[in-house]
Amino acid sequence: MPQIQIPSPLRQYSGKQASINVPAKTVGEALAGLVSQHPDLKRHLYNDEGKLRTFVNVYVNDEDMRYLQKEATELKDGDTISIVPSIAGGGTI
């Protein structure tokens, strides 16, 4: 089962879990499964049009899914999906 790594800024919306296993054949299915398990994550990952936000990158193992088949990228057993949001540092904005 593919494992999704949740970065610390988003863990407050994933029940504090750092990684979550989601049964899925593609990246799109895995993310949909994640969001249905943790609905609070949805607005942080997707915009109002239902597209992934541009400051959230999704990696399959060490490869950016934008350079694979995006959400249609097929997953193998043991694949790790990483959500990598942009972080800026200490400033209050």
């Binding site: 610390s8 800024p9 936000r53 490869e63 950016d64 990598v84 972080i87 800026a88 200490g90």
Partner: protein, 409 residues
């Protein structure tokens, strides 16, 4: 002694084995080392990867460090110790007590001083041969290009999105490598952007998150040693770029997880559609980065139109034994530091715990500074609560103006 003398006369016609167009104006052959410097850098000089040639490259190099804070502290300290000849630092901030947990270039005695003055004392004490150039200013679209052109490499130790995009774009436009590091809580990122063939920050993140969607370090905190880990990685990459040695973090994003003590590496590609470094560039000059990042004017405490109450008025109500329900929307670990005997529901839990609140009562919501509680008030108003108010300035304003014995954090 004789050996030293012969070293000193050993002026190399330096050939950079790994030439980078971006640092071509470094003239190591002219950067002669004195005998004192040769002694100082002896542990470098006896390594073939550095040697006299490399040390002279370091001395000839000009590195601009953006910020003298968490990342800037280890960066500036190590680059200075290593013998980087010219170090520029841009900062306009003043040292405060909350900086000392991680900004190791500053000491308790420096609180209240300009970070530049504090940093300058430490750096010149470590290495009197340093040519330190301090820029007491905010980096802006008006000054960035001119400033960057005077340096070979830019090390980004900033703490906010507008400056990150500004640094990136200015690096791309001036052709200077951007040695990037960023931190949040116990996770960090590092990479080298904007080299001639490598990706830039916008290839990775075309746009910043809207304000408020991702918590800042001031809200989320940061482990004090983390900027040390990441800043030292930045310093290492800077030194490698100058020496032309090793494999720089070009096209790679290093993720540091201090809690799991795991280092992971992700592949970065140059995005052909990147607006600043792609094939059809739409950004050919610096823009208004505050506007780009959705920040209008100064960092207003969220939501001026939200019904609010001052700490003075709340105090009067409490003294008059008025029926006021105080809702604390901070996290439990913040409640442990100080509290107003409020009812604790962290803002993230509010949607599922809203039934615990009585909408007929007057509710004053507060957090640390007023940002999260503004969101909470917004949420509750939309949920039908009509008598809910935001405590302006949060518990920090209470500590400053009502109860000076209360700790601030």
């Amino acid at each position: 002694m004789l050996l030293c003398l012969s070293f000193r006369c050993y002026v190399l016609p330096v050939v950079n084995k790994n030439p980078m167009a971006t640092i071509s104006d470094v003239k190591p052959a002219e950067a002669l080392l004195s005998n004192d410097e040769i002694l100082r850098y002896s542990r470098h000089l006896i390594m073939p990867e550095v040697g006299m040639e490399g040390q002279q490259k370091l001395k000839a190099a000009k590195v601009l460090c953006i910020g003298a804070g968490g990342l800037g502290s280890p960066l500036a300290l190590y680059l200075t110790a290593a013998g980087v000849g010219t170090l520029g630092i841009v900062d306009f901030d003043v040292v405060d007590y909350t900086n000392l947990q991680r900004q190791i270039i500053h000491t308790t005695a420096d609180v209240g001083r300009k970070k530049l003055d504090s940093a300058a004392d430490k750096l010149t004490a470590i290495n009197p041969y340093l040519n330190l150039r301090t820029f007491d200013t905010k980096l802006t679209s008006a000054n960035a290009l001119e400033l960057f052109r005077e340096f070979d490499i830019v090390a980004d130790g900033t703490d906010n999105f507008p400056t990150r995009y500004l640094v990136n774009d200015a690096c791309v436009l001036t052709g200077k490598p951007n040695v990037y590091g960023s931190i949040f809580r116990f996770e960090g990122q590092a990479s080298v952007f904007a080299t001639e063939d490598g990706p830039c920050y916008r290839c990775l993140y075309p746009e910043p998150p809207p304000p408020g969607l991702v918590p800042s370090c001031a809200e989320g905190g940061v482990l004090g040693i983390l900027p040390g880990l990441v800043g030292v990685i930045q310093a290492t990459e800077t030194i490698k770029l100058i020496l032309g040695q090793g494999d720089p973090l070009v096209g790679r994003l290093l993720l540091v997880d201090a809690l799991g003590m795991k280092f992971r590496e992700l592949k970065l590609r140059k995005n052909p559609d990147c607006p600043v470094c792609g094939t059809h560039r739409t950004i050919t000059e610096l823009i208004d980065y505050d506007q780009f990042c959705g920040i209008r004017g100064q960092e207003e405490p969220a939501g001026n139109d939200i019904p609010s109450i001052s700490v003075e008025d709340l105090k009067k109500k409490l003294d008059a034994k008025a029926d006021v329900f105080i809702l604390d929307v901070r996290e439990p670990h913040e409640y442990q530091i100080c509290h107003l005997n409020g009812y604790l529901i962290p803002v993230g839990d509010l949607p599922k715990r809203v039934s615990e609140l009585d909408s007929s009562r007057e509710i004053v919501a507060h957090c640390k500074m007023g940002g999260r509680s503004a969101k909470a008030v917004n949420f509750l108003r939309r949920a039908g609560f009509t008598k809910v108010y935001n405590l302006t300035g949060g518990i920090t304003a209470w500590a400053e103006r009502i109860d000076p014995k209360m700790p601030k954090y």
